[in-house]
Symmetry: C2
């Protein structure tokens, strides 16, 4: 293999595929990046067997071939190269030579025979999606996935396409986040995608200035995201997702409309005091034109009043402030609606100006004060 390519393009490509390289694997080859020169394209691949990322770079190929190099060291070196063009070639002993101006590196390479190929995903039924929409759907649900090992299925987000509507759903036993959007020309389908995959896809999209749609394909065990010269293929979580629609209350007794940021800031301030106590929850009292948020712990207390518009009954209820903060941070509308029924029923939070987002949060025992 012998190529000459633009250093900046190579750095970008390595930064992207490194998101799929595991530093903790027991298979040494998976700590590497595969560099393959063929058909006038340089292809970089990282693959930790859960997620695999491939990136094509236009480059000048003098001799085709493929090699695997240490992802960490190769990445560190190319980020520090002194010139705009780098020459890479592999000698007969599989040593990878990296030459750039007066800098000459030689890295031990590995033959790519054992490097795992990216799984094939059937491309017959392609979902085409605006990348900003995908980013927002991920942002507004991903934080509600579970992080522990107790119920692996909850560490993923459900993506469901049904009758012209795409939904992403995440829940962890304490709260539930649902983001919906219209989608056209796509068959019904569903997949449970690991949160890590969605987080990496979102990061890669954010780093690229391009507004073309993303192509998504789902097979029985994998999902593939295709955009620009990048292909991300991830394993799906297997099993049945929780039946979440029956969790959402159909009725409420109190409806509160409140400024999103005022509520967020007040809860954040209250949580500063609450988290110093043994019971870290906050008390919310809804009455007439105000919501009072309070916490009273050994070393101090806090009382916040927030102006609201209340329809229905007064109510006193307890919450884990983190679960409210997480949702209020990702709701973009200026005002939110809270729907409540009693001090032991969950609360629904929705943006005032549209119907595309529902967040459900469990109440906790009202903290003693």
């Amino acid at each position: 293999m012998k190529i000459r390519c633009n250093t900046h393009d190579l750095i970008n490509g390595v930064n992207i595929v490194q998101k799929a390289v595991s530093s903790k694997t027991t298979m040494p080859i998976l700590k590497g990046i595969m560099i393959k020169a063929a058909s006038n394209k340089l292809t970089l691949t990282g693959n930790d067997l859960n997620i695999g990322i491939e990136n094509h770079i236009d480059t000048e190929i003098e001799e085709e071939g493929a090699i695997v190099v240490s992802s960490k060291l190769f990445g560190e070196i190319i980020r520090k190269l002194p010139g705009d063009t780098v020459e890479i070639f592999v000698d007969d002993n599989n040593n990878v030579h990296i030459n750039c101006n007066y800098s000459k590196f030689e890295l031990v390479g590995q033959l790519p025979d054992e490097f795992p190929l990216l799984p094939e995903v059937d491309e017959s039924n392609t979902i085409s999606m605006n990348r900003e929409l995908l980013k927002n759907m991920i942002r507004q649900t991903i934080f509600a996935t579970a992080t522990g090992d107790t119920r692996p299925i909850l560490t993923g987000t459900l993506m469901k396409i049904e009758d012209g509507m795409i939904s992403m759903v995440a829940l962890d036993g304490y709260r539930l986040a649902i983001r919906m959007a219209n989608i056209v020309g796509t068959d019904n389908n569903s997949a449970i995608i690991p949160a890590k995959t969605l987080s990496e896809v979102s990061k890669i999209i954010s780093g690229i200035e391009n507004s073309d749609d993303i192509k998504i394909n789902i097979s029985e065990k994998h999902i593939m995201f295709n955009f620009d010269d990048i292909k991300v293929v991830s394993r799906l979580l297997e099993g049945e997702f929780i039946k979440y629609s029956q969790m959402i209350p159909k009725e409420y007794k109190s409806k509160v409309v409140v400024n999103t940021n005022e509520l967020l800031n007040s809860i954040e301030r209250a949580s500063l005091v609450a988290r110093e106590g043994r019971n870290t929850s906050i008390k919310i009292s809804i009455k007439d034109d105000f919501m009072n948020i309070s916490s009273n712990v050994e070393i101090g207390s806090v009382n916040e009043d927030v102006k609201i518009n209340l329809e229905g009954d007064d109510l006193i209820i307890g919450f884990n402030p983190k679960y409210l903060i997480d949702a209020l941070k990702v709701i973009d509308s200026e005002e939110v609606i809270l729907e409540l029924s009693s001090s032991v029923s969950p609360c629904i939070i929705k943006p005032l100006d549209n119907e595309n987002y529902i967040y459900l949060v469990s109440a906790v025992r009202i903290p003693k004060q």
Copy 2:
């Protein structure tokens, strides 16, 4: 105590005095900030007994008094307050009330009786110093102080004023950094200042836009820095500093002039490979118009050529690359001079364009390649 003050001023003041608050102390009162309202000034004080910082804020005082509050919680709260003006008052039970718009906090306070006063420092012999100069002198020496416990005196930087010249000197057994500058109207004096103190002083200066000189006073056991409305008093390290002037070689056999950044970048690249090996040092070969920097470890090798101007003998020598990188990063001149004598003698690094900085670094055994 009852005051009303600008939230932004209070945040700035707390950020500064918090640098002297220890979170790990066994004396609970030292985890607090003292807030004192007297003579139309609000004074904030943090003091961990090694370093104490006092900051005055102009404010409206309705009732004089003093109280100690938890530095962490008080800081977190005021940074999140919703309005431009905050009212603070202490009730008869020593509870501190913080009111701002619809936010009301109450924190348990402690009487200031046990809060340590800042040590008195004799102000008869004041050193007046440009703050940018002080910042640079700290930056160019502090990294060479020792970090371990084996020789406590080396964890400080020597500040020496002698015959119209101020020097700051740091060494750790492997390298020595000396920064000198002219100074007028100051008696001879010296002090060994803990690196942490200098680091905090440098950070505080960097955060303030003001170019007035800093006033420095040295007493037997303490040093005081006075600037703006801030006073930093620190304990000095006791004992005699190492006799460093005899360490500096008076002669050399090879003199190299080289571009500072080119040398820095080449050594940084070489160190990427070197640090993957058992022996993390690099080999430098000086010959004719080039310096070759190399490292050869199990997983790869590197060869960097840097153009130089050599007067004197060819030479091969080994170095810990970190010690070269540290110095080259803080030298502001475009070119540096390296003075060398043999592969076992230390190397001197100096800026080409002035005589105010000397860095001495020990050679290490030349790594086998």
